[in-house]
């Protein structure tokens, strides 16, 4: 059942939020042992919240557009009084004294939070294997990873634990796991969703976004969480989005570019699905043409300088002085070192070292500075493509879900999994991954729709056409 259908049923009194919540908790109880989508399941809190929603309905009040909808929150979204760990040892025991803005907005819309979902530590990873609490398994094939870093959120939706979830996307962390798990995942335009209360990985790239089973549900969630927040200076001064209604409006007259560079390294079966997706769009009345944005080839290199550089600074605060883990030592500096050595996992340490190096005196211009110049070129490259095209099409990930452990010891190969998602973050644009059939292994393929900044309406329209024309995804292989 979609979030929209649940909310409609709860608002009309047809179904009780408590019933919906119990169904969600039961699904989690049955499947979580195998999937491990959550860092923390909040059964009691969810039941209390559901009772409140039902009381509102009984009193004739409208709980909002997500009335009674169970939601999973990625564990880097602050929840007041509820552990928020980013799946890192270093934040063990920390209870945020406040809710993230998106969490407040979900609550105000009547959503029921059922748990904090598993993720790669501090969102650094593409498989959810760097979580300090153990990996999540892909519900389509439990020998495979769910992707990452929002792998817990994607798996929760794919497993039917919750109809929707929130993730965060710094270099593809919503879209790539959505693709690998066969669900919809959307990364909004930078600045359209508040980052207040999202524990930062790389502030200039991070954006919160929805995961869902349908494009319409993703739009519904985006409408709820989007809009200006005075607490986030980088949030745009624009009215909240109202896109749920435009989803079905079609692509007639649009020009869609198939992004050649994204097909270069793609698995042939994945590339085949994208060609098929292009045909669906053409059949729906869009003009489809091949487009080249050669600058996107530079995205991965630029990203692995910019994101670690920001992270090396942003993660400095985890020093054992004020909260989270502290490993005692003879003086403050030694305590800082001992705490950080014990608290961070290998991938986080690797990126802190990369970023520290990229910003170091004598190297900053050659590495970080150069990466910023590349970022500008990528923005310019997309701008040229969008002079002709309304939206771009490509694969979300070059492959389907890979086996657990396959890439954990080969960081470069792991990083390549985000090669088709990273340029969007560097540009600050929106993009969405829609399930579109399966690969040769029977596992889901994601078709990615890219759009210019603030063109979410166009993006959702294209995504909905792909959704309607997509070959079915099998329940497993």
């Amino acid at each position: 059942m979609t979030a929209a259908a649940i909310a409609a049923a709860v608002r009309s009194g047809e179904r009780r939020a408590a019933t919906v919540t119990e169904a969600s908790l039961a699904a989690i109880a049955a499947g979580e042992g195998e999937i491990h989508a959550f860092a923390l399941v909040l059964a009691d809190g969810a039941r209390r919240r559901a009772e409140e929603i039902d009381a509102q309905v009984a009193a004739g009040q409208d709980p909002g557009p997500l009335a009674g909808v169970p939601v999973a929150l990625k564990d880097n979204l602050c929840t007041r009084g509820v552990p928020t760990t980013c799946c890192s040892r270093i934040l063990e025991g920390w209870l945020p004294p406040y809710d993230a803005t998106v969490v407040k907005r979900l609550a105000a819309a009547g959503a029921v939070v059922v748990g904090k979902s598993n993720m790669d530590e501090f969102a650094m990873g593409s498989s959810t294997e760097t979580s300090a609490f153990g990996p999540t398994r892909n519900p389509r094939d439990t020998s495979r990873v769910p992707g990452g870093s929002s792998g817990g959120s994607a798996a929760a939706v794919a497993a039917g634990f919750t109809p929707v979830a929130l993730g965060s996307d710094t270099g593809g962390s919503i879209r790539q796991p959505a693709a690998l798990c066969g669900v919809v995942g959307m990364k909004p335009t930078y600045g359209t969703v508040s980052r207040y209360g999202l524990v930062a990985f790389a502030s200039s790239l991070d954006q919160v976004g929805p995961l869902a089973t349908t494009v319409a549900d993703a739009a519904l969630l985006f409408d709820v969480i989007g809009g200006r927040d005075e607490r986030d200076t980088t949030s745009l001064d624009r009215p909240a989005p109202r896109l749920a209604s435009v989803v079905g409006q079609g692509v007639e007259g649009m020009t869609i570019g198939v992004l050649a560079e994204y097909l270069e390294g793609a698995d042939p079966a994945v590339a085949g699905r994208i060609a098929q997706a292009a045909e669906v769009l053409a059949a729906a009345g869009a003009r489809v043409e091949e487009v080249s944005v050669p600058e996107v080839r530079l995205g991965l290199s630029a990203y692995y300088l910019i994101a670690p550089a920001e992270a090396s600074s942003t993660l400095a605060r985890y020093d054992g002085v004020r909260y989270g883990l502290r490993v005692d030592a003879e003086d403050t500096a030694a305590m800082n070192v001992a705490t950080r050595s014990a608290g961070f996992g290998a991938e986080v340490k690797r990126r802190i070292m990369l970023g520290t190096y990229a910003l170091s005196a004598g190297y900053v211009d050659a590495y970080y500075g150069q990466a910023l110049r590349v970022r500008t070129r990528i923005i310019d490259g997309f701008a040229a493509a969008y002079e002709r095209c309304d939206a771009l099409l490509g694969p979300t990930a070059p492959t389907t879900a890979f086996a657990l452990g396959a890439k954990l010891d080969d960081p470069l190969s792991m990083y390549l999994s985000d090669v088709c998602t990273i340029p969007t973050n560097l540009a600050g644009h929106p993009a969405i991954s829609v399930p579109f059939g399966t690969g040769a292994d029977g596992l889901p393929v994601g078709a990615q729709v890219l759009a210019p900044a603030l063109a979410e309406a166009t993006m959702f329209k294209v995504a909905a056409v792909l959704e309607a024309g997509a070959p079915a995804v099998g329940a497993g292989s």
């Binding site: 602050c78 524990v199 600074s313 020093d319 002085v321």
Partner: protein, 511 residues
């Protein structure tokens, strides 16, 4: 160039020339911190003005305080800077009193650049930049030494974390400790006049670091400099700069080199000492703060901030000079242009002592009292002397005196109602009580002017005792009024109000 001025002595003796530049940090007097809504208050219980933002909690984000931007622009305007679009960077280093382990500071695009400050002596000192940044918390080390070495534990107070600062960096334009002190004094007065700072060096709301080097003479390349920290008063600044220059000269004259380092001023020992040597210089890894957007003040806003700026110390000194020369203040009157004031060396009618009084009064922000008193009929020299010599002894209390009460008090001296000694006594009462009614205070001290009824009787007695003089006065010989005032004063041992006596004489003459 104009303005009354302290004479800057040439460096006497020896070929060495001292080169000094100052870095001044001032806390801004905003209601709230730079990036959050916490109160900007000094001296409260530790960790009572904190929130997720100024504690750097995960997920928190900074939001720039627009009032802090305004005050920074006011400082820039007062220092003749170019006000420009600016950005914030992160300055990365680990320290427990810095919650994010980076400081948000303006780096290569500061809000104010390329200005100048004119010393009262006339010389202009270049201002390289004046930029916004956040303050850190405060660490207290428990243990015998009170320092981090050997401390049993340390406590951190984050009330100060995120308090707005402006750092004002001068060019290396000063050539003596006297100039350095004059610069710091003038800058402090400007910051106070802008409403940007309370200028309290002892409380740390204004902090001065000095960069000192020496060179063989004017025009020679700059020597290696040392940065001196822990200068908690103007006196420390002057002493430290002189000590450091002499230390460097001694090194150079004995054939040694000056090592560039940061040194700590030890006030008790009267010397600078090298801070523990760092194994390597810090690499702050500056980069653009991605959580903030550029600050781009529109021209209308900049203009409005400039228009709201009150008169600056140089203008205020020029106005006092004008008052001494006989100008009459009027409500709403513009201030004289400070650049066409009276020359420091040759202000006609302004003595050296009066020049010092003017500097003192303006430095302490008490010139408003002088202007109010003169507007109320008090001669300028008397008003200046009482303000510089008496009111200035408790400048803090004097700054909050009611100018009306102050004028009334000095008016009583002018009228002869109170003697100079009595006025000084009542002024000290006013300062001690933080205000009051001078007439009441005079009465309480028994300095009270004679009540009207008693005065009428005494005047009548004087008239009756001198009938011939009375007839001449009544027939128009006005100067005889002073004769009768003298008689009344004699009879009352100076307790009568001279103006009251004259008024009563006039009333009798009309009868």
């Amino acid at each position: 160039m104009t303005d009354v001025g302290r004479v800057v002595p040439e460096d006497a003796g020896g070929a060495w020339e001292m080169v000094v530049g100052l870095e001044v940090h001032t806390e801004l007097r905003t209601a709230t911190k730079l990036f959050c809504g916490c109160a900007n208050l000094f001296g409260d219980e530790p960790n009572t003005h904190v929130c997720p933002v100024c504690l750097g909690l995960p997920g928190s984000l900074p939001v720039l305080n627009q009032r802090a931007v305004e005050l920074a622009m006011a400082i820039g305007t007062a220092l003749h800077c170019e006000i420009r679009p600016s950005t914030f960077h992160r300055k990365n280093y680990f320290y427990p009193d810095m919650p994010k382990d980076y400081q948000i500071s303006q780096y290569d695009e500061p809000i104010n650049v390329s200005g100048w400050l004119q010393l009262p002596g006339g010389r202009r000192i270049g201002i390289e930049r004046a930029h916004l940044e956040e303050d850190t918390g405060k660490t207290a080390h428990a243990g015998s030494s009170g320092r981090i070495q050997g401390a049993e534990y340390s406590l951190v107070d984050y009330n100060r974390s995120g308090v707005p600062l402006v750092e004002i960096v001068s060019a290396p334009d000063m050539r003596s400790s006297t100039e350095a002190r004059a610069y710091a004094t003038e800058l402090r007065a400007i910051l106070i006049a802008c409403g940007a700072s309370d200028g309290k060096m002892e409380e740390g709301s204004m902090r001065v670091d000095a960069n000192v080097s020496v060179r063989p003479g004017p025009g020679a390349p700059f020597g290696t400099r040392c940065e001196i920290k822990n200068l908690n008063s103007l006196r420390s600044l002057g002493r430290a700069v002189d000590y450091e220059a002499q230390r460097q000269i001694a090194l150079l004259e004995s054939g040694d080199a000056v090592v560039q380092q940061t040194r700590h001023w030890d006030e008790g020992e009267g010397r600078t000492v090298a801070l523990r040597s760092k194994e390597e210089a810090y690499d702050y890894r500056y980069f653009l703060e991605p959580d903030l957007v550029p600050v781009v003040p529109d021209p209308a806003w900049i203009t409005a901030v400039g228009a709201a700026l009150g008169p600056l110390p140089a203008e205020r000194r020029a106005r006092l000079v004008a008052l001494l020369a006989g100008a009459v203040p009027a409500v709403g009157e513009g201030f004289p242009d400070p650049d066409v004031g009276v020359d420091a060396e040759g202000s006609p009618g302004v003595s050296d002592a009066e020049r010092e009084q003017i500097l003192t009064v303006v430095d302490l922000g008490l010139d408003g009292l002088v202007v109010a008193a003169v507007a109320g009929g008090v001669p300028a020299r008397l008003a200046l002397a009482r303000t510089a010599n008496e009111a200035a002894t408790d400048a803090g209390a004097a700054a909050s005196l009611d100018p009306g009460a102050y004028t009334t008090l000095l008016g009583m001296e002018v009228a002869g109602t109170l003697s100079a000694t009595q006025v000084k006594a009542i002024l000290s009462d006013l300062l001690a009580h933080g205000g009051g009614d001078p007439v009441e205070l005079a009465r309480a001290r028994g300095f009270e002017a004679m009540a009207d009824a008693a005065l009428v009787t005494v005047v009548r007695e004087a008239v009756d005792a001198h009938p011939a003089e009375w007839v001449r006065y009544r027939d128009g010989e006005e100067k005889l009024a002073q004769f009768f005032v003298g008689q009344v004063m004699k009879a009352t041992r100076g307790q009568a109000n001279g103006k009251g006596v004259v008024a009563e004489l006039e009333r009798l003459a009309r009868e």
